[in-house]
């Protein structure tokens, strides 16, 4: 069995996001970039399936500029067998990403595609669902447990009411939630091994995918600053202050 894993590079979750003074985007130069945490979980799950003997090959897929190679090497150091790098200098919207994946699916014929439920930069939460639709295969989103047997995936989903267990016939798309697993630490010798693993580079233009530009970002702005608080001496003063504001 072959598993395709989406492996997006985003601004690290520890970084304090700052909007460019002209509002055209967020500052990314000199900023730490790392794997989308949900994608790390997706890769970890794929590796565990391979370690259980369910899968033979795990392929990480990245879409982005030329310098994405170092990021893909991290995925290889974690344990993926090989990587596919679709090169483009432009930001890619979810529908375009889904179309790119479909092209790669046609080429690679995987039995399973595991993606993060969303990327922490745009928080779109769309690529997995869109891919399942255009591929016309089942989807199991927000997975917190995955079991594969007899050509079927049994997936526990995190839903508002609790947990939902569904069965999906393979091939299928699974998107990961936070509790699915805890990604492993990368070991130094594995970084060295990753250097000799193959990365297929595919020019975006050569895929024949139509870039989706239905959405246009017009402006970025930081959240409004919280106004200064007022210290009150005691409960009575608090009640009076709340009354004055018409909140009581």
């Amino acid at each position: 069995m072959k598993i395709l894993v989406g492996y997006k590079r985003v601004v690290d979750y520890n970084v304090r996001i700052q909007v460019k003074p002209d509002g055209s985007g967020v500052i990314t130069d000199g900023v730490k970039l790392s794997a989308n945490p949900f994608d790390d979980i997706a890769l970890e799950e794929a590796l565990r399936l391979r370690e259980k003997g369910v899968a033979e090959e795990v392929i990480v897929v990245g879409i982005g500029p030329a310098d994405l190679t170092a990021h893909l090497r991290n995925g290889l150091a974690m344990g993926a067998n090989r990587a596919i790098h679709v090169t483009t200098a432009d930001a890619v919207q979810p529908l375009t990403a889904a179309r790119i994946f479909l092209k790669l699916i046609e080429k690679e014929q995987p039995d399973l595609v595991i993606l993060g439920k969303q990327a922490i930069d745009d928080d779109a939460n769309q690529t997995g669902q869109m891919l399942a639709a255009i591929w016309d295969r089942p989807q199991a989103t927000f997975a917190s447990k995955v079991e594969i047997a007899d050509g079927k995936a049994t997936v526990t989903r995190e839903v508002d009411a609790g947990l939902e267990v569904i069965e999906a016939e393979l091939p299928a798309v699974i998107t990961t939630d936070l509790r699915l697993n805890e990604p492993r630490f990368i070991k130094l010798p594995d970084i060295m091994k990753a250097k000799s693993k193959p990365i297929d580079v595919i020019e975006f233009g050569s895929l024949g995918v139509e870039a989706n530009d239905h959405l246009k970002t017009t402006h970025y702005a930081a959240p409004a600053k919280r106004s200064k608080g007022v210290m009150v001496k005691d409960a009575a003063e608090l009640v009076a202050a709340l009354k004055q504001k018409g909140l009581l």
Partner: protein, 536 residues
């Protein structure tokens, strides 16, 4: 238990700062077949280095001819220099001392510079490994240094192994290069083990606290460099500021306090914030926003404090050796030069450390330090004597027949009531951040809370008893990140005990240096933990 995994290199370098990276680049230029790796505790290169920084470009010209055509991302040619003596409400402009004239130099972000150097090292075949902390030295049977041990990952606070536990590997090398920066934790062990400081004065340090601001358009003058002394420091505390105008309406600013201060109530972080509220600075910053902030100890002992920089199997370079030039307030050129010198020595000696110390002492790196060796110690006698002494040492180019002594920083605190506290003429602050915790937010520091505390306090009873009485727990004040707190505990003699908020730590090493009982030891936390500075 299974055998620990190992990797072998000809040379392992600890720390991807300017010294370590310049060393690796130079060695690969001279001996391309030598295998070299650089390990770095921060999760990305440059995320845990902090400096002003105005740098002298000559070593870069020698290391990477043509670098000016492909400069680091922040690199603003130095413009006008100013030097001020501040009072609480005003100031006097002083002539710029020769060491602080920056014509021909560049204002950079040292973090961005290292992130720019690392790929150039990699292109030469150096393996650069960010996110891995060198937790220990390892030794050969004959006692020589054999390499370093990488810290384990996935250890819980209580020492048990978490599900993702990954044992750190040993990196064995013919030669280990310590390039950890000021007060390196492995260097500290090696200095003790090999008695490297037997022939030198104790090392001296300062603490630098820095912020990077985005200002409203039109306020900065790219390239302008302003330094100040005087307020808010009293005349017996060594303190001074820097203010460097960058491009894109950004400004880098910071305040340096000598860790040889004597008043146990002194707070370096507060002194920095006070200076920011001086009318001349405040008017510049008001309406701006903080982009990033952090703190780092600076090595200031200079010529007389330099330990022996070689031992069997290892050498010290850059600030972990102690090569910063205090009157110039610059260490980057010294770090680069010492790294290149070490590479040249090792390339010629077949990776034998022997003779490196002599070579370093005979080099222009040490000649530069010798000239200024008496400047910083002169300030122990107060600001006015210090300035006169500095003028004398500058005019005579350090030819005085004497060398002033350095004293260990941990030993300089007065006990409570022993001396009259200096009157601190502080103002009501209005600029952010409000307090140290608000400041730490801008360092983006991150430690998994469920890991062993990386600040080892040998005897916390001292904190709850003697230290309360003698110094009123100065750790709660000298730490710029409020890692140390005394919290209520009725079972203790003085009703309080030490609490270590290690997750806030920005790895500045001040506690390891200044604690008056020498009981705090800073060790590396899990690799990748710690501050994530942006362009500091």
């Amino acid at each position: 238990m299974s055998e620990r995994e190992t990797m072998e290199y000809d040379v392992v370098v600890v720390g991807a700062g300017p010294a370590g990276l310049a060393f690796a680049i130079r060695l690969k230029q001279l001996k391309p077949d030598t295998s070299v790796c650089v390990i770095e505790k921060s999760s990305t290169i440059g995320a845990q280095i902090l400096s002003g920084a105005v740098i002298e470009p000559q070593p870069l010209d020698a290391l990477l001819p043509g670098w000016r055509d492909n400069p680091p991302p922040i690199c603003v040619p130095a413009g006008k220099d100013e030097f001020w003596l501040l009072s609480k409400t005003g100031g006097t402009r002083l002539p710029v001392p020769p060491g602080m004239r920056n014509h021909g130099n560049f204002i950079v972000s040292l973090g961005a510079l290292c992130a720019w150097l690392a790929p150039q090292a990699e292109a030469l075949g150096v393996d650069v490994f960010p996110g891995f902390a060198a937790a220990d030295n390892i030794y050969n049977e004959d006692g020589s240094v054999a390499g370093v041990r990488i810290g384990d990952m996935g250890v819980a606070k209580d020492g048990t192994h978490k599900p993702g536990y990954t044992e750190g590997i040993d990196i064995k090398a013919k030669l280990t290069v310590l390039a950890e920066g000021a007060r390196g934790s492995l260097t500290k062990q090696l200095v003790k083990r090999f008695g490297l400081d037997a022939g030198s004065d104790p090392q001296g340090y300062s603490i630098g606290i820095k912020e990077l601001w985005q200002l409203p358009a039109g306020r900065v003058t790219p390239g302008k460099i302003a330094h100040s002394i005087g307020w808010p420091a009293d005349t017996h505390t060594y303190g001074g500021s820097f203010l460097y105008h960058l491009d894109k309406d950004r400004i880098a600013l910071g305040y340096i306090s000598g860790l040889d201060y004597s008043d146990p109530k002194y707070q370096p972080w507060e002194a920095f914030q006070q200076w920011k509220n001086h009318p001349s600075v405040k008017s510049l910053l008001e309406g701006g926003t903080i982009l990033s902030a952090g703190a780092r100890a600076i090595v200031t002992g200079g010529w007389q404090s330099l330990p022996k920089c070689e031992m069997p199997g290892a050498i010290l370079i850059g600030d972990t050796a102690g090569l910063l030039n205090v009157p110039k307030i610059k260490g980057t050129h010294q770090a680069l030069k010492s790294g290149m010198l070490a590479a040249e020595h090792l390339a010629a000696s077949g990776l034998d450390a022997t003779g490196f110390d002599a070579k370093l002492r005979g080099s222009e790196v040490m000649a530069e330090l010798k000239k200024v060796r008496n400047v910083k110690p002169g300030f122990k006698k107060g600001l006015w004597f210090g300035l006169l002494n500095a003028a004398w040492e500058t005019v005579t180019a350090g030819l005085s027949p004497w060398t002033l002594k350095n004293k260990a920083d941990w030993s300089t605190l007065h006990k409570l009531g022993e001396c009259e506290e200096p009157k601190r003429d502080y103002v009501q602050r209005t600029l952010p951040p409000r307090d140290r915790l608000a400041g730490v937010y801008f360092a983006a520091t991150e430690h998994d809370e469920d890991q062993p505390v990386h600040l080892h306090v040998a005897d916390t009873d001292i904190c709850a008893t003697r230290c309360v009485e003698e110094y009123d727990n100065p750790c709660t004040r000298f730490c710029p990140a409020q890692v140390y707190e005394m919290v209520a505990d009725e079972s203790q003699p003085h009703g309080k005990r030490l609490q270590i908020n290690s997750a806030n730590c920005v790895h500045c090493k001040t506690c390891d240096i200044k604690d008056p009982y020498e009981i705090i030891t800073w060790v590396t936390p899990e690799g990748g933990s710690g501050p994530n500075y942006q362009n500091l």
